[in-house]
């Protein structure tokens, strides 16, 4: 149980796919002009990631290694098609505003990377923990970026007016360059946090060593 929790935590913070591993960036910046898009994309991604990982983990002993990549792609494409059709049927507005990025989940490096590096080797339980962790890690970064951009760029959060009416929205943040700008600041913040955590971990080690001596 403890091991599962640590795998889960890995995806959310330490190996966060967007901020640490720097994969699957396209959709992260493109759909984050408002929070509801961010949530939709994050959940779609989590669904495809989790179920592809589960299926591949279940069949990992049957899949011949030489043709594993095409098989992975077919499994991922099948789940992406499901998400695409469900979105079109039940959330037509959301689907329209995300456009080509829903079908592009199929070539999102996060899914291929996790399936190849993790799901094809591990047992079901840890794969579920990994899928949830990575998916939610992706989702929270998306929501955070979207919140900053929407708040500054249009003064709303998920479509609800938050800023006072006299606030003049800074259009820059919802335009494409603003996405790059905010994302850049997020990465540098994360690098700073990681350095700080590592430093404090080292300090602790030193202290315990000294005490032992």
């Amino acid at each position: 149980m403890k091991k599962l929790y640590s795998i889960f935590k890995q995806g959310i913070i330490f190996d966060n796919p967007l901020l640490m591993l720097m994969i699957g960036l396209c959709s992260a910046i493109a759909v984050t002009t408002n929070v509801s898009n961010g949530i939709g994309m994050g959940l779609a991604m989590t669904f495809v990631l989790l179920f592809s990982e589960v299926i591949i983990s279940l069949f990992r002993k049957l899949i011949p290694t030489t043709i594993r990549i095409p098989i992975f792609i077919i499994v991922i494409a099948a789940f992406t098609t499901m998400v695409d059709l469900v979105m079109k049927a039940y959330f037509p507005d959301l689907s329209k505003s995300m456009g080509v990025f829903i079908p592009l989940i199929v070539v999102n490096c996060i899914i291929m990377g996790r399936v190849e590096a993790f799901a094809s080797k591990q047992k079901l339980a840890s794969v579920i923990a990994d899928g949830l962790g990575m998916g939610l890690g992706y989702t929270w970064v998306l929501i955070a970026i979207a919140a900053v951009r929407e708040l500054l760029g249009s003064g709303t959060l998920a479509g609800i007016q938050v800023m006072p009416a006299s606030y003049q929205p800074i259009l820059f943040f919802i335009l494409p360059p603003g996405g790059f700008f905010v994302f850049s600041l997020f990465i540098s913040l994360n690098i700073w946090l990681k350095k700080k955590m590592e430093a404090s971990a080292k300090n602790k080690e030193l202290v315990t060593k000294k005490e032992a001596a």
Binding site: P70, A77, A78, C109, P176, P177, W192
Partner: protein
């Protein structure tokens, strides 16, 4: 003819696939540390995008639509592109070794390049005819090449410039892209 020129310019500058639409960012960040490398990647993507458009457009309109199988679009397109890349690689290796040595090593990487898949989907969803699709794919992929060369050039200059400490590493690349994006927004009035 005007129509085609408009599609081409819109795809190349106004809606540049990388800096304005954020597609294919992984390779944009990952492959631009060297100017030659980024150009090789850009050529390979251009080549495969046009080929993939020429292959997927007829498949969609003459096979999937008559058979009522359009829901298989994602699956079929990615398989077609993957096998196409593989075929091109074999062909170039055997028959055009000069071209193969220039862009061969990038070919396997671009199977999962979002730009190519995005272009083939958009040709369908924008309801372009065959000629328009080709114009659009040429525009988009040259736009990709342009963005790659721009960032690679900036990165070469950046090696000798003082970068603020908190932006060192990847953050400065995104910051530079944001500035390129601001410049590209100037093109938005180009076409009415």
């Amino acid at each position: 003819m005007m129509e085609l020129g408009k599609i081409f310019l819109l795809a190349l500058l106004v809606n540049n696939i990388v800096v304005m639409r954020f597609i294919a960012l992984c390779s944009y960040i990952g492959m631009t540390s060297d100017l030659g490398q980024s150009m090789g990647m850009g050529y390979a993507v251009t080549f495969v995008t046009v080929l993939a458009t020429a292959a997927t457009w007829p498949i969609y309109h003459y096979i999937l639509v008559p058979l009522n199988l359009t829901f298989l679009q994602i699956l079929i397109f990615i398989l077609v592109i993957a096998s196409l890349v593989q075929l091109v690689e074999f062909y170039l290796k055997k028959n055009v070794p000069g071209l193969y040595s220039a862009m061969g090593i990038y070919l396997p990487l671009i199977t999962t390049n979002c730009a190519i898949l995005a272009v083939t989907f958009e040709n369908i969803s924008f309801k372009y005819n065959f000629i328009q699709s080709i114009a659009y794919s040429v525009g988009v992929s040259l736009g990709y090449l342009l963005a790659m060369i721009l960032l690679a050039g900036i990165r070469e200059r950046m090696k000798t410039s003082p970068v603020p400490k908190f932006l060192q590493g990847t953050p400065i690349l995104f910051m530079a892209t944001a500035l390129i994006g601001v410049a590209f927004m100037g093109f938005s009035g180009l076409i009415k």
